[in-house]
């Protein structure tokens, strides 16, 4: 598969010297659904706006389907954007909004009519063609924005926080709908979001950004299971952080002393010195209660006192005091009520078990 978008050495500074994007290089393969993920101000939206052409980079190049478009204005680039607040033209009907981008490109009138109809049908809004945007619900406006962008048959569809203005239920439904739309069209989608669930559910590839740089880039499962930095580990999903010092290293394993409790962790690639301060990161769902019998001899044991139990329906989250500043979260599946796992009570001493391969080690940096 060839690269549809190639970004090289991109840098963008705004008035007042704020560096929004610094030296970002990224290649997007054709047909890929890629998500730029990060907190607000990390530069993700700026990258999208640079691709769309609303901003010009200070340095670096952007190529679209092999052609350098860095100096082209937005109206000469074959990309289309779904704006965060949709940016529908309030003085035009839904049909006029969708047909807007076709009228200028010299498409015959009848053909525009047909394209608009087809586009509206594809987002199930055929009956709303003559409405004005303000007469539609948020979800419907979102579909109009989508239809308006797709009707131009762009090479790349850019989505700027497309679901952030929708309520939770609709957002979950639209996540799946957008994913299916992507599969059906085979088009390249570049989405920007600060919502990790959205990124994990929808994308083929997630690019985690931090302060204008790419922190890590990979498939959702890869990022979740093998975060390269503490920042990524914390940003995606819930992580339990344990602070400690390296007690010993041997044969791809390191033993870490966390306030008296010793844990061993699989080390890949990172050179650790004995005595070095490190932060361990353990996912709540990769930890079990030793009392429930699923733990082998290889598992780490971690003792603590149960602070409270949070009931989530299908799971219960136990918050366990293990001598660290924050309580250690453990998720327990509650699948079968008859052979119910016996949940400890608050104040009970519990033993947690976690396999060394599920303990990630990061050099102790300032926790973001």
């Amino acid at each position: 598969m060839s690269n549809i978008v190639e970004i090289g050495g991109l840098r963008k500074t705004f008035a007042g010297g704020v560096v929004a994007v610094q030296d970002v290089t990224l290649a997007v393969r054709e047909g890929e659904f890629i998500t730029l993920l990060g907190p607000s101000g990390c530069g993700k939206t700026t990258i999208l706006r640079l691709i769309a052409g609303f901003e010009r980079p200070d340095r670096g190049r952007i190529a679209l389907a092999g052609t350098d478009v860095t100096d082209l204005p937005p109206y000469r680039r074959q990309v289309n954007m779904v704006f965060q607040d949709y940016a529908l033209f309030p003085h035009m009907t839904v049909a006029q909004n969708v047909g807007y981008g076709l009228r200028v490109s010299g498409v015959p009138r009848e053909e525009i009519g047909l394209s608009v109809e087809a586009a509206l049908a594809s987002v199930s809004l055929s009956d709303k063609a003559q409405r004005r945007p303000h007469e539609l619900s948020g979800g419907q406006r979102q579909r109009v924005a989508l239809a308006r962008a797709l009707v131009r048959k762009p090479k790349v569809l850019l989505l700027d926080e497309p679901l952030s203005a929708l309520d939770a239920n609709l957002r979950a439904a639209m996540q799946v709908e957008l994913k299916h739309l992507h599969e059906r069209l085979g088009l390249t989608f570049i989405m920007v979001t600060h919502d990790q669930t959205e990124a994990l559910v929808m994308s083929d590839r997630v690019v985690v950004m931090r302060a204008g740089r790419i922190e890590q880039d990979g498939r959702p499962a890869e990022l979740y299971d093998r975060p390269r930095t503490l920042y990524v580990a914390q940003f995606l999903g819930t992580s339990n952080l344990l602070r400690g010092r390296v007690a010993s290293t041997a044969g791809g394993r390191a033993t870490i002393d966390c306030g008296g409790q010793r844990l061993s962790a699989t080390v890949d690639g990172v050179a650790l010195a004995v005595g070095e301060a490190v932060t361990l990161c353990i996912r709540p769902e990769k930890t079990v209660l030793a009392a429930n019998g699923a733990a082998s001899a290889e598992h780490n044991r971690l003792e603590g006192r149960l602070r409270e139990t949070l009931f989530h329906g299908s799971t219960a989250r136990l918050m366990v005091d293990v001598g660290q500043p924050d309580a250690f979260a453990v998720d327990v599946q509650l699948q079968d009520t008859t052979s119910a796992v016996v949940l400890p009570k608050s104040g009970d001493v519990v033993t947690l078990a976690v396999h060394p391969r599920n303990v990630a080690i990061f050099p102790a940096e300032a926790v973001a």
Partner: protein
């Protein structure tokens, strides 16, 4: 209830003061004018009557309907010119001046003449356009004129120039506000959909700024239509407008019934323009959600 009861008369008194003011200085005078417009003139005063002769005279005697027509013509030209000057100015301020502080400062510079006496500003044009004026001496310095030309002052041209200058701030204000309210991402969306800047302007910016243009045209037309000072200062003999004719009916000519009838006609024209404008504004109004 008991606690509120004593306040009521006080509240009524407070509210009735502005009402009384309006009644005494607006409604009653209108009614008096309206009544007198049906009276018969009997030099040097008039007799109570109910006849339409004054109104008929306005539409039969060329000296009156021509003034009305001229006034309307000048008001239209001034509104048009003021739009042509103000729109690009407002557009420049809103879209081209990047610095917020500079934009606010320039906007203030456009508006600040409103704090200077209108009479003074109209008078300024007399000194610019007159035979001894700046324009003449400038053209003579350039060698374009041998001697001072009297052509610039005391005519309709001078009036249009003066009134346009005076009413530009009234036009810039609503257009500026309308342009400022247009979400920037609509223009980005237009560009994103392949539409160049010029077509984007006509398809998005202009339609969305129409409420401002309508408001400005209404202000300018109505203010010009009722103007009294510019004809007096820079208008000359063929520059009389309806307000001047009305003034003379109440003054030198001592024909109050005709003056009243002219006032009512003028009021009706202005009311017609206002209602047309509010109808246009309502039909063109869109939710900038």
């Amino acid at each position: 209830m008991t606690a509120r009861a004593p306040i009521r008369p006080l509240r009524a008194a407070i509210l009735s003061l502005p009402l009384l003011w309006t009644l005494a200085f607006l409604i009653v005078p209108y009614l008096i004018i309206f009544t007198i417009s049906f009276y018969t003139r009997k030099y040097p005063t008039h007799l109570p009557d109910f006849q339409f002769g004054n109104y008929l005279a306005i539409f039969q005697d060329p000296q009156y309907y021509q003034v009305l027509w001229r006034t309307a013509k000048i008001a239209i030209v001034v509104a048009l010119l003021a739009t042509l000057v103000s729109y690009p100015l407002a557009y420049f301020l809103v879209f081209k001046v990047r610095s917020v502080r500079l934009r606010a400062a320039l906007y203030m510079l456009v508006i600040v003449p409103l704090w200077v006496s209108y009479l003074l500003r109209a008078y300024t044009w007399k000194t610019i356009l007159g035979s001894e004026g700046i324009l003449n001496s400038f053209l003579m310095t350039l060698g374009l004129l041998d001697g001072p030309s009297p052509l610039f002052l005391y005519n309709q041209f001078a009036m249009v120039v003066t009134l346009t200058y005076i009413f530009v701030p009234f036009m810039v204000m609503p257009i500026y506000t309308a342009l400022e309210k247009i979400p920037r991402n609509l223009l980005e969306a237009s560009g994103d959909l392949g539409v160049g800047p010029l077509r984007s302007f006509f398809a998005v910016t202009l339609p969305l700024s129409m409420p401002g243009v309508i408001a400005g045209v209404t202000f300018t037309f109505c203010l010009t239509f009722g103007d009294f000072v510019a004809p007096l200062l820079v208008g000359g003999p063929d520059g009389q407008m309806i307000a001047n004719v009305i003034a003379s009916q109440f003054g030198a000519t001592l024909n109050w019934p005709l003056g009243s009838a002219l006032s009512i006609v003028m009021l009706l024209v202005v009311l017609a323009v206002l209602s047309l404008s509010s109808r246009l504004d309502r039909s063109g109004r869109v939710e900038l959600a």
